[in-house]
């Protein structure tokens, strides 16, 4: 059977194009940054403009971009699968990133640890506070903030604003970080008026818009008139609550543009502080700290500007408590304290400051919270 034979010219052409593709590939590392400059990678688990967790980090990255000599590379919506490992490797290999911030909690183990082992010359800092010396590689580290105090101040705002004496919390999952926020919010409100109760609804997912809207509506149907939340993107909760004319306390980022007249205040991350600290240290050639934590006093956490609906009395109350927190030694979780089933948790005289290790394994809801962890 006669076969079509490629001519010599065609063979040469094919070979040349192959070589060209190869050269393109080999040429890639040429684009690497110079030693004096630095390329920093940020990876987000959701969209950068979610009015929440990811936006808070992206705002921090935006602050880093302003530092001369820094190139910032960003990726959003990266799943906590092999995808994030590849994003990190791609940033290192193709963009020459020497410092990477994988910002989602689930990126740490096994993903960041696996990549860090392969690239010992690259620095990795993860948001969530999981790093421990001797266990995890030296080129990795953690940073996190104590935002529970912010939810306590939110609670004070809610305590002053609520007329029904019922407030609501839309929560993702019953894990220690979230439970501390719920308890802090409830205790803040009850410091204003001990008759206030806080209903909590868990959606079970970090990001599930439909359920967040349903939960918000359900809370308001049960007479809650101040709503806050701990989900990745509070946008749906804030807009739903505003649509029902309920007051809102924000979380993660500033959501006041979504509900200007009903937004009381909010507990926000201030990652710009953390990221500029890491990046300026890296550019100066200083060793990067492996473990960094802070709260309101350290500037890791801040409160949204007060909204017009917040009364003068509430503002004065929040300012006073905030001053106490900034002075140090303030405790939200302190005895005597019962859980919401009536069982004693803490005896009088016991108090946990925000850095207390006991708070990191919290598995209870305090008295005044209506809801269940299981």
């Amino acid at each position: 059977m006669p076969l079509i034979k490629p001519s010599r010219r065609e063979v040469l052409r094919a070979g040349a194009s192959g070589l060209a593709i190869g050269a393109l590939g080999l040429g890639l590392p040429v684009g690497r940054a110079f030693a004096a400059d630095i390329t920093v990678g940020f990876i987000y688990v959701g969209p950068r403009d979610d009015y929440g967790y990811n936006q808070a980090h992206a705002e921090g990255a935006a602050a880093v971009k302003l530092i001369p000599g820094v190139t910032v590379v960003e990726e959003e919506n990266v799943a906590e699968t092999v995808d994030v490992q590849q994003s990190m490797e791609s940033m290192i290999n193709l963009d020459g990133a020497s410092l990477v911030f994988p910002t989602s909690f689930g990126y740490f183990d096994p993903h960041m640890l696996a990549v860090a082992g392969k690239y010992p010359d690259t620095q990795f800092r993860h948001c969530g506070g999981l790093w421990s010396e001797g266990v995890h590689p030296a080129n990795t580290g953690s940073y996190f903030g104590y935002i529970g105090m912010g939810q306590y101040l939110n609670g004070i705002a809610a305590g002053h604003a609520s007329r029904t004496k019922k407030i609501g919390f839309v929560a993702a999952k019953p894990i220690p970080q979230v439970l501390l926020n719920i308890n802090s919010f409830a205790l803040g409100a009850r410091s204003v008026d001990p008759s206030i109760t806080c209903q909590v609804i868990f959606t079970g997912e970090w990001s599930m818009a439909v359920r967040e809207a349903e939960a918000t509506n359900a809370l308001i149907d049960q007479q809650a008139d101040v709503i806050t939340c701990h989900v990745d993107g509070p946008k749906v909760v804030v807009e739903t609550a505003a649509g029902r004319n309920a007051f809102i306390c924000g979380y993660h980022a500033n959501q006041s543009p979504l509900a200007p007249s009903l937004y009381l205040t909010g507990a926000e991350w201030n990652w710009a502080e953390v990221y500029t600290g890491f990046v300026t240290a890296a550019m100066a050639g200083e060793p990067l700290p492996n473990f960094v934590r802070g709260g309101l006093a350290e500037g890791f956490v801040k409160m949204s500007p007060y909204g017009p609906a917040l009364s003068e009395a509430a503002r004065a109350n929040i300012d006073a408590v905030k001053a106490e927190i900034l002075a140090g030694g303030f405790s939200v979780i302190k005895g005597p304290l019962n859980d919401n089933k009536g069982a004693p948790l803490l005896a009088a005289g016991t108090a946990y400051v925000e850095t207390a290790i006991e708070l990191e394994s919290m598995d209870y809801l305090v008295e005044g919270v209506i809801g269940s962890t299981a």
Binding site: L24, S87, K173
Partner: protein
């Protein structure tokens, strides 16, 4: 066809031979050329879309090639992303032989992963050569029951399989969350509830010389086996008939019910296997990250491949490549993550539309080449 005057018998023979070859290649060529044209059309449309936003589509495609196949590193990235997609796509393609549209493979993936992680502590001391297959079989069984029950609901109760499988995926994810946060939770996993970590012996490693895990090989094997089943066995032939016309199949005495349950169960088994591989090769335990959306990308691939298991392989690689280049596009062109989703959606629609082009071009008709028309 006008016959050219032939100078001799040898020339005639050669010409006839060529015609023979062309006639034989006409149909397979149609299967390749039409999707290819659709693919290119999709890229052009997407290019226009990108240009509308004031970005250079050529730069974007250049980055895409660079991010997908530009370096050995990029190629490995594309392959690693393709690995779970192969099995996820089979969960759509196999039921499709019977005319069923099953879109809930994600559910079988997460439950397969949870099943593997639940079994792991019970077989902690078993060597890997036995333990890994045990986990695989258990995960496949769970996936088979999950999607097989969608097929059973369809055949015995007349429940729409598309809706049922999709809704069951949400149930599966809720079930996974419950198990991972409750009975199966490792007490040490505080803020990210997970199952106990797998013993080192039960982990699946990487293919030597690559950073891609063995799931890729398993996926390709599964596609080849599925192709043989569909195209080279009487079971596959019966399924095709039942998919074409259920009444005719029933009149012929074909076991339609068993075929429907069997094919959906097999698809579910492959999806369950994908979940087990994710746990054993990537995560090391089961947690909420298992719901990574592979089941949904698998739908896209199965439709692009027109439910042909062999065609799934190249399309999974292409999709893996597109997704691998996603990061580079975001970083270099400051485009949002949704860019690649728009491209995938456009390709999906264009390829579905191209289905109507089959049989419309004479050059793909064998009769044309045999000179019968």
């Amino acid at each position: 066809m006008a016959d050219v005057a032939s100078p001799g018998a040898a020339g005639d023979l050669a010409r006839n031979g060529l015609r023979e070859v062309a006639a034989r290649l006409a149909r397979p060529a149609e299967m390749v050329v039409i999707p290819l044209i659709a693919f290119v059309a999709g890229l052009v449309l997407f290019g226009l879309f990108i240009a509308l936003f004031g970005k250079n589509p050529l730069q974007l495609y250049g980055l895409m090639v660079q991010g997908a196949v530009g370096t050995w590193f990029s190629i490995q990235q594309s392959l690693a992303r393709a690995a779970p997609l192969l099995l996820a796509a089979l969960c759509v393609a196999l039921p499709a032989r019977l005319g069923l549209v099953v879109i809930g493979g994600e559910g079988a993936i997460v439950l397969g992963g949870v099943a593997a992680a639940a079994l792991a502590p019970l077989i902690g001391g078993v060597p890997g050569v036995i333990g890994v297959p045990l986990m695989a079989v258990f995960a496949m069984a769970v996936g088979a029951v999950w999607i097989g029950s969608v097929g059973a609901l369809r055949y015995y109760r007349g429940v729409n399989e598309t809706i049922a499988s999709l809704l069951m995926a949400y149930i599966a994810i809720a079930l996974m969350n419950h198990l991972v946060e409750g009975p199966l939770r490792d007490p040490l996993s505080l803020n990210k509830p997970s199952t106990l970590p797998l013993a080192e012996a039960l982990r699946i490693g990487t293919i030597p010389g690559m950073s891609v895990h063995w799931g890729l090989v398993v996926g390709i094997l599964a596609c080849v086996i599925s192709f043989i089943l569909i195209d080279r066995t009487t079971i596959g032939f019966s399924a095709k008939i039942a998919g074409g016309n259920v009444r005719a199949a029933l009149l012929q005495g074909l076991p339609v019910g068993r075929l429907i349950v069997g094919f959906t169960a097999l698809g579910g088994a492959f999806a369950g296997l994908a979940g087990m591989i994710e746990v054993a090769a990537v995560h090391g335990n089961a947690n909420a990250s298992l719901a990574g959306g592979y089941g949904y990308t698998g739908i896209l691939i199965a439709f692009l491949a027109r439910h042909n298991p062999l065609a799934i392989i190249p399309f999974a690689l292409i999709l893996g490549g597109i997704e691998a280049s996603n990061g580079l596009i975001q970083r270099r062109m400051a485009l949002p993550d949704a860019t690649v989703l728009v491209l995938e959606g456009l390709l999906f629609i264009v390829i579905l539309v191209s289905d109507t082009l089959y049989g419309r071009f004479r050059i793909f008709d064998p009769a044309y080449w045999k000179g019968e028309r």
